[in-house]
């Protein structure tokens, strides 16, 4: 389990948990970032913003939140 902020771009990740407040996790869920969901990290670098993509959806996540979204790397691609 690592923060999204530490994941290289090109990896596929599974969302495990959020370590941010209720409002923020609610926002993530409404945008479709849900525990157990898999996403491709299509853009991302340490300290930078991240893009999680799932085929049709693309969600941009700032560096701050990327530290608080905990993920598991599924495969490298």
């Amino acid at each position: 389990m690592v923060p999204l902020a530490f994941v290289e771009s090109g990896s596929e990740v599974e969302i495990l948990d959020f370590r941010c407040g209720g409002k923020c996790s609610c926002r993530l869920r409404e945008l479709g970032i849900v525990k157990g969901c898999r996403y491709l990290v299509s853009t991302g670098a340490k300290n930078g913003p991240f893009i999680l993509s799932d085929g049709e959806t693309r969600i941009g996540i700032g560096a701050g939140i990327a530290m608080k979204v905990l993920v598991r790397e599924v495969a490298c691609g």
């Binding site: 941010c20 923020c24 869920r29 409404e30 945008l31 479709g32 085929g55 049709e56 941009g60 560096a63």
Partner: protein, 654 residues
Amino acid sequence: MAEKSFVIAVAGNPNSGKTSLFNKLTGSNLKVGNWPGVTVEKKEGKVVRGGITFTFVDIPGTYGISARSEDERIAMDFLMKEKPDAVIVVLDSANFNRNFYLFTLIIEMGLRVIPVLNMSDMAEKRGITLHEGRFSSIFGVPFVKTVASSGKGIPGLWKVLEKMGDLEKPKHLPVYPKPVEQAVGRLMAQFPKLAGTRFQALAILDGGIVVLENEKLRQVVSELQGEIEEELDRELDELIAEKRYEFVYSIAKECVERRLRTEQKVALTDRIDRFVTNRYLGGPLFLFAMWLLFYLVFTVGNPFVDWINTGFGALSSMVSGSSIFASFVREGLISGVGAVLVFVPNIFILFFLIAVMEDSGYLSRAAFVADRFMHALGLHGKSFIPMLLGFGCNIPAVMAVRTLENEKDRVLTAMAIPYMSCSARLPVYLLFVGIFFTRYQSTVVFSLYLLGIIIAIIVARVLRRIFFTNAVSPLVMELPAYHVPSLKTAARSAGIRTAFFIKKAGTFIFGTVLVIWVLASLPAGVPYASAQSIIGKIGSAVAPVFHPAGFDSWQAAVALIFGFLAKEVVVGTFGVLYGGQAALSSAIGVHFSALSAMSFMVMTLVYIPCVATIAVIRREIGTKWATLSVCISVTLGYGLAVLVFQVGHLLGLG
């Protein structure tokens, strides 16, 4: 006379094609107003059909109840409190899960819904088929497939609307574990006013809605929360969201068919993003895009500008004679208003290109790329979009701050926007670079825009230091897939905004120019626009103030004084006072040097937001901030103009 009337809300996620659908339904029967108490635009359209009056209300795009931005809050409040007769829920077929999550919230509000599976063509292209028949039989309400942009499926939607009277509430809803259901039941029965719907009861339980005014309710809720969390050993908000998503997935399993995914289109967006949002390339690419924008504004626009100029010249020479009327038409109307109108092609192209960027999906990447940078400055990445809109016109840009999620971001962004060089300032630059910097036109103008951005950022940063201490709100945003922008839509949007500019030139600027012409002609007997005229005396009195900045002609002082009303007036004033386009160039060549032209342009960029922008800032964030904005900009504009001139002078530049 229509017998029945219904209020229908049009709701959906941002980027779901909600507004196109709304436009298709209402056509030109549109009324734009404001939501009560706030300045968020409210669009309503009345259509009578089959003896029924439909009032469609376009509510702001939203993802759910977590929103802290003004417009998303309005959307949810409208649904919960106003209780429209039905809600057209616009769902982006290609983003089914997330869009359907909002749908789930809306049906839990106990509202009647008309679900629309929009952008079904895009979904098909990606190998996703939504079976509307299956949806309809599960929920007991008709689902309609549409492609709102082309109008496909709209007749089918009208058929459903015409049978509004028979529409039932959806019969299938998410089911929660027993303790949660019991708690919901109890809240609904005990507090029908505050927790009258499943949605409200659930939101109060999971903390999404905080009810402060009812002590009893608060007590009951905290009791229930404790009991449930102990019994199920789960956090309630997480549990409820999970059940909702399970519901969404179960529906997707039944009704959504995914064939072999054609990766091509998706991969293209990701491939573009790899460059555009790259941490090293993203910034330079963005700057290049901006530079290209201004380059095109000039190279494409200038031939048209020349034509219009020639046209006005010919028009002016047709008006002969020395009567007051002839003088007014020649010096006031053609020179003054004409000096502003010649730049219509440049302005149209600027608006057109901004619309193209917005429509293509690049504008939201710009916000994303800018986030790290903006973050360092204490602003939110999303603040970048209103700031960028400021290049077109500061007024809609300041209005756009309402899409930001907290007060601090709204205030700081609105305070920074006036330094974004709007299209009204462009004519001033165009006039001066055309005379003094013919070889480096786009570079000089680009650097002025850049200077504006830098000042905006410094102002925001300093204000944050002084007035705000809390942390920057985090960035989570949807990035729509890239697509080829519709040139027709961009042209229409640019057309509307350019028409606004022309209208302003025809009314407000015309009026101001008229006043200047009258003051330049009085008292009777003095030579027109001479230092002895009233305006000459006013200008001469103020002009010494600008001596340290290198431009102390009284005409420049007058131009700046009246430029406060609208910055286009600066050029208009020169036109009136120097007597037309042809004379303008040589007169300015005499009164300014390249260096003082530069300091004058800097002054025009910074010195004060126009009256209308000040009014909008006041409306959006209050009188205190509007006053502060004026004070800062006047001081800064003057200071910088003096600095440019004095430093340049020391360096021997002029």
